[in-house]
């Protein structure tokens, strides 16, 4: 207990050891890193200003000036794809973090205390799992207005139930472990036990689910963007696809490239999540990729 940190680092080393042996997971990690670089260095990497409107509209891909062509307003698609990474990553990661914080808190309290608290919180969780969250997000955003902050908050507030369930089941197991029992004997407070003693041991699972949640949040953000509910002042991949829908016959490139970007981003986070999942549960090693979907369905299976 006193040497949590060294225990953590050996745990991380172990996970990394398993993780890096997975080709797919490593490929995912490389793509994630590339998207990160794209997002951070967008102003340097993008050949054009993504908002700059010109008369050169619907230019087909392959010209030196516009490698991926231009859209209906003569904007450079490559530059927009690069800048779009910012919104996707920002929303994906921050929404996942928001959901994770809520999920950890509720799941930990629920699993640790049990009883009526657990019952009540699990009913609420069930309620949130029952309301189709994309539909709810659509309603909320379109009624209360869009903007990147709202996107993050709404997606975050709608993506905690899966996390809460997993964390709860972890706490259910951990609370009867000897190290928790002994902590209680020496008079540690419940809060200390929940957040300082148990939490680090649950973290690997949390990171797996949070990574997969990023992928889902990116998809959700793109879906909202496709319904025209993205932030109108920022470039987003979903918004680009929404625009492309009206010009499918005239400019296929408006659809193909942002769609590829979304798919790659989602794919890479899923691959990393799967890899982490297997690395943290070495018993899954023999099965190849496996039970990430049980996490996606909120650990219900």
């Amino acid at each position: 207990m006193s040497n949590n940190s060294s225990k953590d680092s050996s745990e991380i080393n172990k996970i990394w050891y398993y993780f890096r042996r997975k080709k797919l997971a490593m490929a995912g990690l490389v793509i994630v890193a590339m998207i990160f670089i794209m997002a951070v260095f967008a102003p340097l990497l993008a050949p054009h200003d993504p908002h700059s409107i010109t008369r050169h509209r619907f230019e087909a891909p392959g010209t030196a000036d516009h490698v991926l062509g231009t859209d209906n307003m003569g904007r450079d698609i490559l530059s927009r794809v690069i800048w779009g990474a910012r919104v996707s990553l920002l929303v994906g990661i921050l929404a996942s973090v928001t959901g994770t914080i809520i999920g950890i808190t509720l799941g930990a309290v629920s699993g640790y205390f049990g009883g009526w608290v657990d019952n009540l919180l699990m009913r609420i969780t069930e309620l949130f799992m029952t309301i189709p969250r994309f539909v709810l997000a659509l309603v909320v955003i379109s009624f209360f207005g869009t903007g990147i902050n709202r996107l993050i908050l709404v997606i975050g507030f709608l993506s905690w139930p899966g996390m809460a369930r997993i964390v709860r089941s972890e706490y259910l197991t951990h609370k009867s472990h000897p190290y928790v029992e002994s902590g209680r004997v020496i008079g540690m407070s419940d809060w200390r036990l929940i957040f300082i003693e148990i939490l680090p041991n649950v973290m690997p699972q949390v990171v797996v689910v949070a990574t997969l949640d990023i992928a889902t949040a990116i998809l959700l953000e793109a879906g909202l963007g496709f319904f025209g509910l993205g932030d109108p002042n920022l470039v987003s991949w979903g918004g680009m696809l929404s625009l492309a829908q009206g010009y499918l016959r005239r400019a296929w490139w408006m659809s193909v490239f942002p769609g590829l970007a979304i798919s790659l981003a989602v794919l890479s986070f899923n691959l990393v999540g799967d890899g982490l999942n297997e690395a943290t549960n070495p018993r899954l090693q023999s099965e190849g990729f496996n039970t990430a979907e049980s996490k996606l369905s909120g650990g219900k299976t």
């Binding site: 994309f134 659809s255 769609g259």
Partner: protein
Amino acid sequence: MSKKGEGRSLGQYALLRIAQALPLIIAIIIINFLLINLAPGDPVTALIGEFPVPQEYVEEMRANFGLDQNIAVRLVRYLGNVLRGDLGFSFNYRVPVLDLVLNRLGRTIILMISAITFASIVGISLGVAAAKWRNSFIDNFAVAFATIGYSIPVFWSGQILILIFAIWLGWLPSGGLQSIRGDYFGWALIVDRARHMILPMLALSLRYMALTTRLTRSSLLETLNSDFILAAKSRGVKSRGILWNHGLRNAAMPIITVVGFHFTFMVAGSALVETVFGWPGIGRLLYTSITARDFPVLLGILLVVSVAVILVTLITDLLYAFVDPRVTYD
């Protein structure tokens, strides 16, 4: 759920689950109602057109739709109505909400069922093949397909399908429910509608196909390595028999899982797919109702969809119990 229980009957279990679902439904109604009613914007302005009208007309409309009452009165009235099966009257379409929603729901369900069926057939076949010939080309293909298919947004795969099959090849219509001109009857109508449904169905099924492939493969691998299969093998049962008798019984589980636990994803997916293909189902209704701020219809859709999710979850649990003898009802 998998605890050894004291043996309630399936019927009792079903009743219990329904009783548990009721408070959930009421909670959903209340949340939806508050959320939508507290939102900014006045639904009456949507109805008057593009020129100014007398203020009295606006007041009259407001009174007509009960919008002049306070929110608590409206909630109680709404709850009462819903329990009597009356979901209100659409501002926008001027028909009972229930009729409207049910009419559209049918088309969405047709789309979903064909997507699920198609996804299951392809997904299970691929999953079984992958498990049988482990590490072969087909296994690698299945793994790649499952991973990629799961990550592609439905609205993009929809657009790509339109590009390929409607625009470049010209084989299939790019959207809509049926051909506009011509009175189709009988077979011609069915064939015509089926042609219109192929692309949206493909787009919607991709994600589930990926999931089913993945789940079938992994659960089969798990089963094939399990003790009772090894025992069966040792008794000399042929491996093909094992695959079909034991394996597929277990493969039923992934489908149930996909349908049951991803039903809410499917609702979202079909809303997007319906928008891409102009399919006049509940997803499109949702979109037009959001734009028109048709509160009663939105409430109706959220309610009907949530009830559908609860029902599907319930049926899934019961099927689980039915298919897997290890599960008992508690």
